[in-house]
């Protein structure tokens, strides 16, 4: 068989395939839901209005007058009109129906903001509510992100980070017991530490100053077991998409027994209610076997400003190897003597040496080096070699 024959049979094997007729509709509906999950653009109502049945309001077809908006700008009809205008520009892409309802409108240190909702009808006839915020940017009102879709009548606490430094936190708690953690740290074994305090709101919305959240969002918010989403988190994320895989899986050469441990599955190590600005951070998951026959797992847990490095040896108990800044492509873990040193760098080649001796080549972009190794030369693909001490 020639290359052309191979090409021909591949084409023949797939020639009768056609995408489903409703693929685009499914993608758009699914994509909108992803916008909700990923960009976390959501909203809610306010406690004072929660008593008003949400489903009663159906835009212009409503048989009841629109409930008044809460907040110090809730009676400012000119502002409400401008908020609706800003909202309509974005909400229109969702196929919204009727007129948006302003649920809260108020001043913040970063300018006026508003919370709105509007019914949405999907291609299949399904109806949901679109919830979202309007903020002040450059002196003008603009809709935040793309909005969150929730079941008709459902409401959820929601938050917004405003200001040039992202240091103004607006939280709509809907009367739910929302809790805030202003920052986090890690203890000596790499577990997450947070201190929680209740959010006290006025009329269902709290506006407060927090530490600047540029480049790294340290705050976390929760109600019950759910995270409060930050509506404009997606707009704070990097503008480019990483070309590096999000997860680098490797098995070390000569591995015989492999462990399946994963520190991110352990609740004490997870930042369940926190936020990550960069959704494409790379993590390492390396499995192998030590010379003594025990299974080894090395993994990194990346965050916006660095990565925690863990390893498991022969059991599901994680050991903390420290925090590296920034979360890069270089993996380096020195195990207890004489187990060796794990070094990795995506698609690179390595040489190592001990005590100034000759450079010795090794195969693979993740390697378990002898414990005596103290220097590694890393040659990234298409890049210049560099030497690092291990």
């Amino acid at each position: 068989m020639t290359d052309s024959d191979i090409r021909e049979v591949l084409v023949r094997a797939t020639s009768d395939l056609a995408p489903p007729a409703d693929l685009l509709a499914r993608v758009r509906n699914g994509g909108r839901r992803r916008v909700v999950r990923r960009r976390a653009v959501l909203a809610a109502g306010v406690a004072g209005l929660a008593a008003v049945p949400f489903a009663v309001w159906r835009g212009t077809s409503a048989v009841e007058p629109e409930p008044p908006a809460a907040g110090d700008l809730g009676q400012d009809q000119a502002f409400l009109g401008r908020a609706r205008d800003a909202w309509d520009g974005v909400a229109g892409m969702f196929g919204t129906e009727g007129r948006a309802r302003v649920r809260w409108a108020g001043n913040t240190p970063a300018g006026p903001a508003a919370l709105l909702s509007q019914p949405v009808r999907f291609d299949g006839g399904e109806r949901q509510d679109l919830l979202g915020w309007v903020e002040t940017a450059g002196g003008e009102l603009r809709a935040v992100g793309s909005g969150q879709l929730v079941a008709r009548g459902a409401v959820e606490p929601s938050a917004l980070l405003l200001g040039r430094l992202r240091d103004v936190l607006v939280v709509a708690d809907l009367g739910q017991p929302v809790e805030l953690s202003e920052d986090f740290s890690f203890d000596a074994v790499g577990q997450l530490l947070r201190t929680w305090q209740p959010v006290v709101s006025d009329g269902g919305v709290s506006v407060r100053r927090v530490f600047p959240q540029l480049g790294r969002v340290g705050i976390a918010m929760r109600y019950g077991t759910k995270r409060v989403e930050i509506a404009n988190l997606g707009e704070m994320q990097p503008a480019t998409t990483s070309q590096v895989p999000q997860r680098i899986d490797r098995v070390l050469a000569g591995a015989t027994a492999l462990g399946g441990w994963d520190v991110t599955a352990l609740a004490k190590y997870a930042d369940t209610y926190g936020y990550q600005l960069n959704p494409d951070l790379t993590s390492w998951h390396v499995r192998g076997t030590l010379p003594d026959g025990r299974a080894l797992v090395v993994q990194t847990v990346p965050g916006d400003d660095g990565a925690r490095v863990f390893f498991f040896v022969g059991s599901g108990t994680p050991r903390y190897a420290g925090f590296v800044r920034p979360p890069g492509l270089l993996l380096h873990v020195r195990l207890a003597f004489p187990q060796g040193v794990v070094v990795g760098y995506l698609n690179a080649t390595f040489r190592y040496r001990a005590a100034g001796g000759p450079w010795l080549p090794v195969t693979g972009d993740v390697v378990l080096l002898p414990a005596v190794a103290d220097e590694v030369e890393v040659t990234p693909r298409g890049g210049q070699p560099f030497v690092t001490v291990v």
């Binding site: 191979i6 049979v9 591949l10 084409v11 020639s15 395939l17 994509g31 916008v35 998409t241 698609n347």
Partner: protein, 163 residues
Amino acid sequence: MADREFDEFVRSRSAALLRVAYLLTGDRHAAEDLLQEVLEQMYVRWRRIRGGPDAYARRILVNRSINRWRRRGRRPEAALGDIEVGLPDHSDGVVVRDAVIGALRGLPPRQRAVVVLRYLEDLPVDEVAAALDCSAGTVKSNAARGLDKLRAVLGPILVKEGD
């Protein structure tokens, strides 16, 4: 504007991407699910996709298909006959398809991806390398090994079919 561009991309490219997904997964339904996942991800990031949506789509299609394979582990995959219900006929097309899917399943995931992108999509080596985040040399060696295996499996079947 961006919405119209995205719609046009889906309309113009979904058939080709579905074929790639099908050969990567070996399962029509899994391929449709995979394609939908990929397009949904692209919908969310449409304004931020750099370097062309085709290349981006191929890259995440391959990554996700390999990750699916990893999640499955090495459990034996369901026989094609179990998946493709309602295909009792044994027309030439079905024979070819079964043979190709069976042969591709015998390849490691990345080798399979190289073969599919190189020979179904007819991509140059550097674009395949970009999709798999590997070197051109790796693409060439994977393609050569993959083709050898495909020839060994498909050759007798297709020659017999053509006799």
